[in-house]
Amino acid sequence: MLQRIGAPSLEALWEAIPSEFRVRGSLPVDPPLAEYEIARRFAQWAESNADAQHYACFLGAGIYDHFIPAALRALLSRSEFATAYTPYQPEVSQGTLQTIFEYQSMICELTGMEVANASLYDGATACAEAAHLAVGATGRRIVLVSEGVHPHYREVVRTYAAAGSFEVRDVPLERGQTPVLALQRMLAPEVAAFLWAQPNFEGIVEDGAALTEATHAAGAYSIAVADPVALAVLKPPGKDGADIVVGEGQPLGVPMGYGGPLVGFFSVRKSDVRRLPGRLAGATVDLDGRRGFVLTLQTREQHIRRERATSNICTNQGLMALANTIHMALLGAQGMREVALQSMEKAHYLARRAAQVPGVSLANGEAPYFREFVLRLPGPAADFLRAAEKRRILAGVPLERFARARSSELLVAATEKRTCEELDRYVEVLADWARRPARAPVEEAACRS
């Protein structure tokens, strides 16, 4: 090969590069390992984590332990999908392009919107991009955000806002719900958008129609960040009149994966299609008149429009969006509804029984909730979590993570995968602990293996 190149040596190919830029000697890293040694090492790491096959997982807060069909995993691992790239040559990418088109269609069915893009990184960045869109569309510079939106999503929106393009103001919750009256007071003429969650971070089903009506009265965009599983049962925010509906697609066939990779969905009305961030697939015909699919409206995007693009995003989360597509295809209309209903029934069963334990109550009282709720405990939530871990239960997300004052509150989620036995065991462990809640000091939590 060197002869053909006409180079005297391999090193000659980069000899023009100043020597001070070179790596000297070999890199200070380990020698290579054989496959079987790597497999052993990763198995050890895997075993030192608590996973949802060995623990009953009641953690939610945006990431849920829902059922993932085997057929999905098999299809998703196909090289044809996994090792292709962005469909720049549509004639040899119809598999990817048609699945994006089907994904867009199904997201619209769930959200009640007219156009969805090919996906964004995650729910948080979808919120940030939605705020950015609304600011651009209205020419206004304030974005109101309900405190019912995931605290991390709110942080990401603030990070994106920090560049100076808009200002973020929080709308506090009352008894777990976004208060319409307080919202109305904050809806000044400079407000570009109001971002709210359905259901919200504490599991509560918001009155989307009322929130949207108030927002529209002030001429602002109503942006909903919605749970896609809940949308199989709840009224879609699009039907409440929302202008943008975004969310996290993880519950639709994507492993929890320690929180990534995820996939953000993003849907709008047709009137805003030219403001969409990211990739978009559309149907067309080929030279012989056969149906086919292409990436379309690419003049919105960074590789064409450069500094005038609608967003700097390049890739979507292709394979995760495909997982969503296959998941919805396998479960279908009835399966999706069944998952949502069973999750909701199990969460309510658990909440009812947990709230009967002396000293334990539901923090948000009678407010309607979907598959997640906040328990108020008679002692530190962190203490109960450790007690539950010993019984192989991941009992919830302590709200102290997000607000120091809420140290006795726990966000608890149930999915269709939690069995009645696990729900009853949860209540039993809770009752045991609640009898002596302040017991301290706590021993080290038990790790598997």
């Binding site: 000659a12 590069i17 996994a82 560049a163 089903v205 009155d207 279908g332």
Partner: protein
């Protein structure tokens, strides 16, 4: 016959995998939620049995080109082989079925995976601090430019401009704009590198940063990188390495030694995580010591033999991802570097550079290179000679598809007429490089003997050229739109 859509395959009451019957007493949705917050009926999703769903997606999948089938020489995309072991490790339940909010105590294995990858990448980059929170390369750029703003603001003046060479990827200028800086474009000189005279003219006290891709998108190493760093740093600005072309540097060149203050890595390029039809990517941002306080929250720290997330970061720009980044990609990348080790990593870039130079040498008899001389891991050809025969770069790209191979990146970088940007990667053997070269030489012959053959291409693909103008004019973006048009787009 084109593959039907899921909607077209749907048959009422057909079902896929089922759940067990509910095992707790049923309350009923009407009692649990107010009726005005409920959907009317089930969502309009398809009803299809599992075998038919599987056939549908298998039939669609085989319409794709992919790296496990043949060469995929997209320039600056680094389409290398994705080792199967990586995927197997990422699917271990102890790494896949774990929740981001389980306690750190019960996540030590996951944290150790992230921590170990951090150590490898810092060594490879020659840089002291790191985050793997960004989801992709473009988000690394956003993170770094937000950090740039915070860094300068802490010194009393956020500054106004970011300089971007004209050969840069589109994400650079769009990122700059998104963070509220003005884009200043510097032209490339005749050698394809940043024109230093122009650069000196543009750099000033207003300059916040320079974003440099090195080697640049022409596949040329910016030899004056040291001088560029000096000019930028003298003005008090920061130097960003767009790591799109890092595959030319692993184990060979040190971004830290070149004076970069930020350097990003795309795990889905250099570190072999699958491209997935356009994501998920995996973003890594390495920074110099004094920029560390601005990294996104949280940062991973080690205390004895335990890892923990540090959230107490008052100068941080904040969070850029819902949780800790694309963990599944981090698992795969660590598996990749451990498989290669120090010795294997040193081979990656050497072989990528050898392959690119060999392919370039074989093709320049027929196609005009953008620049003479050796290239790094990729090179750009111009189809200017073929254009004189009435055949354009797009036609050549489409004709390549007929031979069961993928086309190079076309019409980028923008500064080369009829650009074909080719990156073979270290994955390809001499035999597969020769086969690709033969195809391009055959096509060149066709441009002389039968140019219409090339312009008609592709004819051997699942569909022929698609009407993109029609797709943009008559937006058909969902099944619903398709039905409104009678099913035929």
């Amino acid at each position: 016959v084109p593959e039907l859509t899921l909607r077209e395959l749907s048959v009422k009451d057909h079902r896929g995998p089922r759940l067990l019957p509910l095992d707790v007493p049923q309350e009923g949705v009407e009692r649990l939620l107010p009726s005005d917050r409920l959907r009317e009926g089930a969502p309009g999703l398809p009803e299809i049995s599992e075998p038919i769903v599987v056939r549908h997606f298998v039939n669609l999948s085989v319409l794709n080109h992919h790296i496990d089938k043949a060469i995929y020489p997209l320039g600056s995309c680094t389409m290398k082989y994705n080792p199967k072991l990586n995927d197997e490790m990422a699917q271990l339940p102890g790494l896949a079925a774990i929740h981001p909010f389980q306690s750190e105590e019960l996540s030590q294995g996951a944290l150790a995976v992230i921590g170990e990858l951090h150590e490898w990448l810092k060594a490879i980059m020659g840089m002291p601090a790191i985050t793997t929170q960004p989801a992709a390369g473009a988000q690394c750029e956003l993170t770094a430019i937000l950090m740039t703003r915070a860094y300068h603001a802490a010194r009393g003046n956020p500054r106004e401009e970011v300089i971007v060479p004209d050969s840069a990827h589109g994400t650079n200028p769009s990122t700059v704009n998104q963070v509220g800086y003005r884009v200043v474009t510097v032209p490339s000189g005749p050698d394809g590198c940043v024109d230093l005279k122009e650069l000196r003219r543009e750099v000033s006290g207003k300059t916040a940063a320079l974003m440099l891709t090195n080697p640049n998108t022409l596949g040329i190493f910016e030899r004056e990188a040291g001088e560029i760093a000096r000019i930028v740093h003298e003005a008090g600005a920061l130097l960003y390495l767009d790591g799109a072309n890092l595959n030319a540097m692993v184990g060979l060149l040190s971004p830290g030694a070149m004076g970069f203050d930020f350097a990003h890595i795309n795990l889905h390029k250099t570190f072999s995580t699958p491209h997935g039809g356009g994501g998920p990517g995996g973003g890594v941002l390495c920074v110099r010591e004094d920029l560390e306080p601005y990294l996104p929250t949280p940062v991973l720290e080690r205390s004895g033999d335990r890892y923990l997330w540090n959230y107490d970061r008052p100068r941080s720009i904040g969070r850029v991802h819902s949780y800790y980044g694309n963990f599944g990609m981090i698992v795969r990348a660590l598996c990749y570097v451990k498989s290669l080790g120090a010795a294997g990593l040193a081979e990656v870039s050497r072989e990528a550079i050898l392959n690119a130079n060999y392919l370039k040498a074989r093709l320049t008899e027929a196609y005009a290179p953008s620049h003479e001389g050796y290239c790094m891991h990729e090179f750009v050809l111009s189809a200017s000679r073929q254009k004189a025969r009435g055949v354009r770069a797009v036609d050549i790209a489409k004709r390549i598809l007929d031979f069961g191979m993928h086309a190079p990146t076309t019409y980028f970088p923008l500064i080369v007429d009829e650009a074909l940007m080719i990156e073979p990667t270290e994955t390809e053997t001499k035999a597969s490089l020769d086969a690709f070269a033969e195809v391009l030489l055959t096509i060149d012959r066709e441009t002389r003997e039968d140019p219409e053959r090339v312009k008609r291409a592709p004819t051997e693909t699942p569909v022929r050229r698609l009407d993109e103008a029609r797709a943009a004019r008559k937006l058909t973006l969902t099944w619903q739109d398709l039905e409104a048009e009678g099913g035929d787009a």
